[in-house]
């Protein structure tokens, strides 16, 4: 018994230490670097005093990501005097539901995707952020309406309100290419989807291979193709159709969806357009698929993938020099603006308190964005944040794609029910890519799976 009590005491002491570790020194000294909007920090500090209050935040970030988020939270602590306790968990999505049911939810939860947040709002676990926050997002975020819509859910009674504040966003609509290979062959960065197709044909005619595509990802094989289809959907159909598709208001085998799948097939099912031929696409690991960009002569000229893919580039690759990216261009024929596909984390209040609302106000200050922009892995659609704060040129260029977007849509497969978005859709795209099924059959089979949900 003595032993158990001792172990318990040690654990408690350790937990205490972990709690205070959040109070770290500020990464950038206020007032020193002109890239940052320090006046917004000082104005926020002057108008908020939360001394003695404690703010609990839970999220998915652990390890180095935890240090990054805590470096931002430190500014909130310094400005208000409140203490912030961040805890990260890789099983956040299960933990937060259990905590909310048990009445021990943190003040603020950071959701990795809107589906779970919508579910929690419906069950009455979230606190609305208020119309003034909705107006703020609408005005200050590029494609503001998209962000408000993504954070707006119905509560138990069916009343809709803004619950989620998007902060930290990823861009998926990127095409990676090797600038040297482009320069040598005299290719130019396409400005429209039509130009992109023309370039694809031209590269093939010149005897090169335009694309590297790899769907392999173990049990998740097929997901890169779903990003392709979603991106093409946004370039062929208005965002309302995309929303209707993702929320199953139109069937999965609707002609609009089949059209988008076939548009993807135009690229991936042509043996002359993809490295290794279309059969290899299904089994090539997505992590290895960009390798063709770096070989000589080029194995391929272009690779469509989200911003995180740079992790899998060969060691020492310099973005902007060895490899660069451009925006997956919008269609010139269809007047749909510049849509961007991506993902992001949304922050919601799971236990109401003065500090929680103050924290949401803090996220509206440019400095809250700039501190993370100046480090790594952070993009923001907030037009008030200074782009100079980005740590690298490539982050700045991606941020620019985000701030010049007219429409932002969340990765659709993440919003569909798991057995569709994270299984049937993947497998259907593999069957379509390898030619086992045509687009209509593949879409029809996915629809069957979706409509059989009880």
């Amino acid at each position: 018994m003595q032993l158990i009590r001792m172990a318990g005491a040690t654990a408690a002491a350790l937990a205490l230490f972990a709690g205070t570790a959040g109070a770290q020194a500020l990464k950038f000294t206020p007032g020193e670097d002109a890239r940052f909007s320090w006046d917004s920090y000082e104005a926020f500090a002057d108008s908020h005093d939360l001394s003695g209050q404690i703010l609990d935040i839970s999220g998915v970030w652990i390890g180095p990501d935890k240090d990054l988020v805590e470096s931002v939270l430190a500014y909130f602590e310094a400005a208000t005097g409140a203490r912030v306790r961040y805890s990260g968990s890789d099983s956040f999505e299960q933990d937060i539901v259990i905590a909310a049911q048990a009445g021990s939810a943190p003040n603020i939860a950071v959701f990795p995707q809107p589906g779970l947040a919508a579910d929690m709002a419906r069950r009455g676990f979230l606190t609305p952020l208020g119309p003034e926050t909705a107006d703020w997002v609408r005005e200050n975020y590029a494609a503001g309406d998209s962000w408000v819509d993504l954070g707006t859910y119905a509560d138990e009674g069916g009343t809709e309100a803004l619950y989620g504040f998007f902060y930290k966003v990823d861009v998926k609509s990127l095409v990676w290419y090797a600038p040297d290979a482009f320069a040598e062959a005299g290719y130019e960065i396409p400005g429209t989807l039509e130009d992109l197709k023309a370039l694809t044909e031209r590269i093939a005619d010149d005897g090169g291979t335009p694309w590297c595509i790899g769907l392999g990802s173990g049990a998740a094989t097929g997901w890169p193709a779903t990003d392709w289809v979603e991106d093409l959907m946004l370039r062929r159909e208005p965002p309302e159709t995309y929303d209707a598709w993702v929320s199953h208001q139109i069937p999965f085998d609707d002609p609009a969806v089949v059209g988008a799948i076939e548009a993807y097939g135009w690229f991936a099912r042509n043996d002359a357009f993809v490295e290794g031929g279309s059969q290899a696409v299904a089994t090539t690991d997505f992590r290895e698929s960009p390798a063709g960009l770096f070989s000589f002569p080029p194995g391929c000229y272009m690779h469509r993938q989200a911003s995180f893919i740079d992790t899998y580039f060969p060691a020492g690759t310099e973005i902007g020099l060895d490899v660069d990216f451009f925006y997956f261009p919008a269609s010139a024929e269809r007047d749909l603006g510049t849509p961007v596909l991506g993902a992001g984390t949304l922050w919601a209040i799971t236990r109401d308190s003065e500090a929680a609302h103050a924290f949401i106000d803090f996220l509206k200050t440019p400095i809250a964005h700039e501190v993370w922009m100046a480090q790594s892995g952070f993009l923001t659609p907030f037009t008030g944040a200074s782009p100079e704060a980005y740590a690298t040129d490539s982050m700045r260029a991606q941020g620019e794609i985000l701030t010049s977007a007219t429409t932002f849509r969340f990765d659709g497969s993440d919003l569909m029910p798991g057995e569709v978005g994270a299984d049937a859709f993947w497998k259907g795209m593999v069957d379509y890519t390898t030619g086992r099924k045509d687009a209509e059959t593949a879409a029809h089979d996915i629809e069957q799976r979706w409509s059989s949900i009880r």
Partner: protein
Amino acid sequence: MSPLLQGMVTILIGVGGCVGYFYAANLLLDRVIFPPSGRDPGRNISRANAVRPWLFLAPAMAALGLYLVYPVVGSFWRSLYNRDGGSFIGLGNYTDLAADPAFRTALFNNLLWVLVVPAASTFLGLIAAQLTDRIRWGNIAKSMIFMPMAISFVGASLIWKFVYANEADIGLINAIRAGLGFQDPIDVIQIPFWNTFFLMAILIWIQTGFAMVILSAALRGIPDETIEAAILDGANPFQIFFRVMVPQITGTIVVVWTTITILVLKVFDIVYTMTGGNFGTQILPSYMMSYMFKDDGRATAVAFVIMLIVLPVMVWNILQARKEMR
């Protein structure tokens, strides 16, 4: 607390707790509830002896009930509800499964797995056991064959991914094809129907060692007199092996066979890592995985179907194993 310290504390509490429970429960029974004193000490002693086995069995029975019986009943109950678990739909999940072509593919593939893998593993294991028994370097050969047993299914799949790789520079099969003069590499994982057999080869590779070790022990247990008698009667080596030795170890063969069958019905790792269920290689456990934590009603229904298939094999296995022990 460091994981090492945590582990040691857990072991101490666990082992100490067990010892403490048995000691304290025994003490309580002998000293307090049925003390061997008072008016009728003899009756108390026999009463205590009647209760004692149950006392000692209680923790195991509680644990089995909690972790085995309750989940089975609970899973079946859950499979009668819809996706959210909110409304009762009777056997709706089961009828949906029957109507799903993907489920039928998985069922058919699973049938192939159950037929081929135990048979091939047991047969190859038996041959290996017999052939390695009489030669000098037999033990080395045995350890080589047994070694894959020590590799996890996922690890083995990763190794075989290289064997099957779609490039002659990496993949063994394509290297042989290239050596024979074929130009284009083939992706064996994508060949319809036969790709399932290429996946089975991985499990056979792992399980042959297991069959070999058990059967080798059984072969050594055969009385030499029977073999000597067969030799005197003029039987050839094949006759000795198939007519004299194998019939004497049938019981062990059945146990090995059924044990591997049960394993086959729960291994999802190989399909999961090699193909993710694509290219028509889906089997029931990996099909279940695609619903798990998404539609738990459907997933538990698949789990229950798997259990129904395993059950008769398991009963046969236990019956045979008991017969062996007698």
